[in-house]
Amino acid sequence: MTTTSRDTVTAMRARAIHAGYPGVPVLHGVSIEVAAGEMLAVVGPNGAGKSTLLKVLGGSMKPGAGSVELFGRPLDSIERRELARIVASVGQENAVAFRFTVLEIVLMGRAPHLGALRFESPHDLEIASAALDRFDLLDLAARHVQELSGGERKRVFLARALAQEPKIALLDEPTAFLDLKHVAEIFARFRELCTERGMAVVATLHDLNAAALYADRVLLLADGAAVAYGTPAEVLTAENLRRVYETDVYVGRNPLTGALIILPAALPNARA
């Protein structure tokens, strides 16, 4: 998967991000650049700072140092609601407090486009339907979100993000809870969106193989710092992975598809 050769508009650029929580620094000088229509996978061990990076990119966390630019504009200069029309985020936890239906949740994605008291128009309903359709949720439109399984709820939140019509999507573990079929479908859908609409996607993943297969570029993060940044083949090398995950891996090619595959090579040494 190479970046398309059309005029690459830089959708998002982050420079030297230092960020963390009071007393706990998390990110140390991370920089990324995502072009429109590109998918960037952020991988790394637990606690590496993947979710924190996503929060900074989405504007819900202010970095201690460094800057984020969206389409050339500084992130903190963009007003909240406009930001919501540009960036859509889907977190790891997808809790809903009350008995809303699937359609109502997806329609909430239209909120940044609507005023305080305006009702959703047929146009908004169309967009919501399209989003539901893309994530295979039309049959569940009238069901209450609280009754759905974790995987179904995740798809509802992804559909909501899509209904925002964002130019950039930030997804934190989008394929957690999803079964094999839906993992493939989610990525296929987002790749479609990258191509069709030039959407830029930044997704944190635990699944290295998915990253290898679907992402245009990969950022390998460990202890809050970028270990490697480039195409999957460049980043996901046995050497890098052994260093970061402290375990031997086998990196090869899928005989069926030719895609990069990463498998654990051996069990870690037994503790003495």
């Binding site: 989405g58 819900s60 909240r80 609601r81 930001l83 919501a84 029309r85 960036v87 859509a88 985020s89 977190g91 936890e93 809790a95 809903v96 407090a97 009350f98 008995r99 809303f100 239906t101 359609l103 109502e104 949740i105 329609l107 909430m108 994605g109 909120a111 940044p112 609507l114 305080a116 008291l117 009702f119 959703e120 047929p122 309903l125 169309e126 339907s129 399209a130 539901l132 359709d133 893309r134 039309l138 439109a141 009238a142 609280q146 925002q164």
Partner: protein
């Protein structure tokens, strides 16, 4: 019309989302319910009067009773019930928990304590009869701030912490009131009862109008936040990512609700559970969209309160049961039922 692969748009299943027509038809149905309840409240009471005579003959006792006592009382029921229910809805949205309500969070209790303290000290401080409701109002606002402050953990408003703080506050206000009750003379001990039991007697239309005015103003503020309240159900972060200024929303709701509860408590004492029963029932039937739920609670709360007061006035006529007792009798079992329901499906937040 649908751009996607030939699938039909989601059926015009009216339960799937809120449309303007659905909003209006539900509100109209509730308004009819309110009119029925209000009519019942106007027709029945501890005194037997003829409505016909009340309207036709201004000098008749029927007229005096109806316009002097019964109508103000029904109006007060409408106003206070509407306000308490709307506040309950807003507070539940704020804490993302259906178990929140002005009485449960200790706000009414604080207001009552303020009134009682003002009453007891007014002999020494002067200030007249107007000082007491004003103190109730102020105390309710202070209680709101206190509960809010204590429940904030690292800048995050934890719903269960808020509930716990509210319960503790209630216990504390109750103890304080009991303390006052035990040391003051008979007159104050008797007067404290008014605040604890709640009463919808309204001496003047002007008083009722003032409370109604405050209530409507507060409600208008709440309605403007209705969509944002929907978004708040997704969590603080998700709401912010959808463009909501969560801090400002919180502050606005708190100010509006405390003004409304303060006004209600200052004229009618503590009446609990209205803000719990009405929003929850409406949410079960009509869904959680606050653009519908807020006005529906307003109307439904008014109907509920008027009905409860009717029972209070008529059940053991000519003697009365305090209306707060009626709502609590309904509310206690209802609360237990809700706890058991929610317990089965944990409120993951």
């Amino acid at each position: 019309m649908n751009a996607a692969a030939g699938n039909p748009a989601p059926q015009r299943n009216s339960a799937a989302h809120l449309t303007r027509s659905r909003l209006l038809s539900i509100l109209a149905a509730l308004a009819i319910l309110l009119i029925v309840c209000a009519a019942a409240g106007a027709l029945f009471g501890s005194a037997h009067i003829s409505l016909v005579r009340a309207f036709s003959d201004p000098t008749s006792p029927d007229h005096a009773i109806f316009f002097g006592a019964r109508l103000p009382r029904v109006l007060m029921g409408v106003i206070v019930g509407a306000m308490l229910a709307a506040v309950g809805t807003a507070l539940q949205a704020l804490v993302r928990n259906p178990l929140a309500e002005g009485g449960i969070l200790g706000i009414s209790g604080g207001g009552a304590l303020g009134a009682i303290l003002a009453l007891v000290m007014s002999a020494k401080l002067g200030g007249g009869e107007a000082a007491v409701p004003l103190c109730a109002f102020g105390a309710a606002l202070l209680s709101t701030v206190a509960v809010y402050r204590l429940a904030m953990v690292d800048g995050q408003l934890e719903p269960f912490t808020l509930l716990l703080v509210g319960v503790i506050f209630n216990a504390f206000w109750g103890a304080a009131i009991m303390l006052v009750n035990s040391v003051v003379n008979f007159y104050y001990a008797h007067s404290i009862l008014f605040w604890l039991m709640g009463s919808l007697e309204a001496p003047t239309y002007r008083e009722a109008a003032m409370v109604a005015g405050l209530g409507l103003a507060g409600f208008a503020v709440l309605m403007f936040q209705a969509r944002d309240l929907n978004l708040l159900s997704l969590g603080d972060e998700s709401a912010a990512e959808l463009g909501v200024d969560v801090d400002r929303l919180r502050r606005t709701i708190f100010v509006a609700t405390s003004v409304m509860i303060g006004a209600a408590v200052s004229v009618s004492g503590i009446i609990s559970f209205v803000g719990l029963i009405v929003p929850h029932t409406l949410r079960l039937v009509f869904g959680a969209d606050h653009r519908l739920l807020l006005p529906a609670s307003l109307i439904g709360g008014a109907a509920f309160m008027v009905a409860a007061d009717l029972v209070a006035r008529v059940a053991i006529a000519p003697a009365e049961i305090p209306v707060g007792a009626i709502t609590a009798l309904c509310g206690g079992p209802f609360f237990i039922y809700m706890l058991r329901r929610e317990g089965r499906r944990p409120l993951s937040l």
